[in-house]
Subunit: 359 residues, 2 copies
DNA sequence: CTGAAAGCGCTTACAG
DNA sequence: CTGAAAGCGCTTACAG
């Protein structure tokens, strides 16, 4: 007998159903099954009968009714932009941290996706209609920041906000220090010509990474050797950028190392370099940024800068659920440390410089 | 002036507030602002005044109240197990498809994470308390499948369920055909000794992949050449499995190709082989399964089997929101086709066989 | 065209 | 120890 579609008529048991089955009021059932306060005492025997009937009827408190009454849903929102139709590895790391923390506090996570921060900023407030008790903005880039995007009755927290949003607590990682550390590592390995593929112009994170790069070179009195080309943040951006650079520099010496805007860009570069027979790290060293899972699965594995995205996500959840843990001043972001992840994609510079191949 | 924590007292405007401001009943406001049915006609002028006041007060219908009344939340659940504390690339692909489809139907997605399918199966029904209108199970492995795990009033859909769950529609991809196709590709390239690193014993997907491998060999009358070792599904599993195989087969000829349980395992193998100076694809060809983003970022890029995870996620959403699109029989899974993704990790077998290095 | 009433399922005072 | 009442914000019949 093939199973058939289930009739959608079956209704879950309510407190009234349980009460009726036992012969008491819904209120008594509520006190036993959901009541947190101990002031209302129920006799042990009716208590047991209520418990038994509730189990038999598979009673579960209705979340919508409870939310309406308590004015909170025990749910947090997570809003992110989907670039080119795909959430990326960066988001996945944040999501992991957010889910883990939310679980601890018995909260759910609802994911909202936007096409574009500026265009969809107005929709943010629409999500605050009782569905969620707080909203986490993942890497928002809201340049046109009108006050009405964050509603008066809910708290927002941002992670890696591109610019301050009034009333929104921001969580950052120290990207400047991370960039400084990783470029210093390259320098300490003997690299003197390090090409930086910078992130998208206008993005704060890209600026921090560039600034850390410059500060490291400066510390070695090598500012004159700085060479920067703008790339973006995607693998395809990385491919295009390095391809263009190779085309324009045929016959010249290759840099001995690449400092890429992020892991995705680094992977794009590795792909193109491999096509030209340029080996990593024998011929050229490469470092990325973010320490996404792609950094661990590439060949060779990527030296990169770890941002504690998981912890940052968890902190965002904590800020919303336990606002008393928030810092005094909302204007200064909470900053997490970054850390270099040293892997196989960095070696010593090769003795005889590699030349850019002629096409 | 530093911004201060917002007083959480501010309450969003209700229909009653809007009605009061205009001087009409909440019901009229409802008819204008949220009413879908046209039977209730409001005069154009009061209509406009209601609209104006609603905008001024930033009225938004309360989702909890509406859900209580309509008995649906416009939200779907997505449940997955977090292996070793991390959601993986496979999940991310499914999530992408699910979010995209949910957006089209104006539904939200709430993510639930479990530690272990069998242990936490009982919690599934707890989520069905009015928070969601349907639940998607991502790759569930519920061996001890008692009927009460799926509640009577909600529909569940599974993606890649390891075994049938009564009353749950399952969505599959044709893994057997995918394995057959990719192994046939290896055979067509001249490979005759193909080692299979099989997925975890007991998992249905691993069986399909093994079966496709065997069928392809059989079609070439090469069943006698089959060689299978059990690996798992993680990169570390892949490293261990290939390391063990190399240790036990020192001095013998290497297989000319590896068919790995999935991309992660393939990457683990590539890493270990590289350590032994064995080149891909010159010395040995490698194929994976899943076509996760790691397959595109490895060097060389991985030949693998693409499963349309995004589409499968989208179909799951559609099944829950438009149950009329469900197939007649729930017992037969919906099967999506798989497809070989040919990339650089496969070449022709080398003329002189590579030997397993002595340690 | 407009409103008073009842109800969705729960909880929070308040009586008995 | 237990229950009747009122309310959370919305909607759906039903009157006027």
């Amino acid at each position: 007998m093939p199973s058939t579609r289930k009739p959608t008529k079956i209704k879950p048991a309510t407190l009234a159903d349980v009460g009726r089955a036992v012969g008491v009021s819904a209120m008594s059932a509520s006190a036993v099954l959901n009541g947190s306060r101990t002031s209302t005492r129920i006799s042990p025997e009716t208590r047991n009968r209520i418990l038994a009937e509730a189990a038999r009827l598979r009673y579960r408190p209705n979340a919508a009714a409870r939310a309406l009454n308590r004015r909170q849903m025990s749910t947090l929102g997570l809003a992110a932009v989907v670039d080119s139709g795909e959430l990326n590895a960066y988001f996945l790391e944040v999501l992991n941290g957010v889910l883990q923390a939310a679980g601890k506090f018995d909260h759910n996570i609802t994911v909202f996706t936007l096409r574009d921060w500026n265009v969809d900023a107005g929709r943010l407030a629409d999500f605050c209609d009782g569905r969620i008790d707080g909203l986490i903005l993942v890497a928002p880039v809201i340049t046109d920041c009108r006050p009405e995007i964050v509603p008066a009755h809910l708290q927002f927290v941002s992670i890696h906000s591109n610019n301050p949003i009034p009333g929104v607590i921001d969580i950052e990682s120290d990207e400047e220090a991370g960039a400084f550390e990783i470029v210093s590592h390259l320098l300490s390995q003997g690299h003197r010509h390090i090409l930086h593929l910078a992130g998208p112009e206008g993005l704060q994170g890209a600026k921090y990474r560039l600034s850390g790069y410059q500060r490291a070179l400066s510390a070695y009195h090598l500012s004159a050797n700085a060479e920067v080309i703008e790339s973006g943040y995607s693998t395809e951006n990385g491919r295009c950028a390095i391809r263009a650079w190779l085309r324009e520099n045929q016959g010249r010496a290759m840099p001995s190392a690449l400092f890429c805007a992020n892991d995705a860009v680094a992977l794009g570069c590795m792909e193109i370099l491999a096509q030209h027979g340029i080996r990593v790290p024998e011929d050229i060293s490469i470092v990325g940024f973010d320490d996404t899972l792609a950094a661990r699965t590439s060949t060779p594995q990527l030296t990169t800068v770890r941002q504690p995205l998981c912890q940052m996500g968890a902190r965002a959840v904590e800020l919303l659920i336990k606002p008393e843990t928030a810092p005094q001043t909302l204007d200064t972001p909470i900053v997490f440390p970054t850390q270099a992840s040293i892997r196989a994609s960095v070696g010593r510079p090769s003795a005889n410089p590699v030349m850019v191949p002629r096409l």
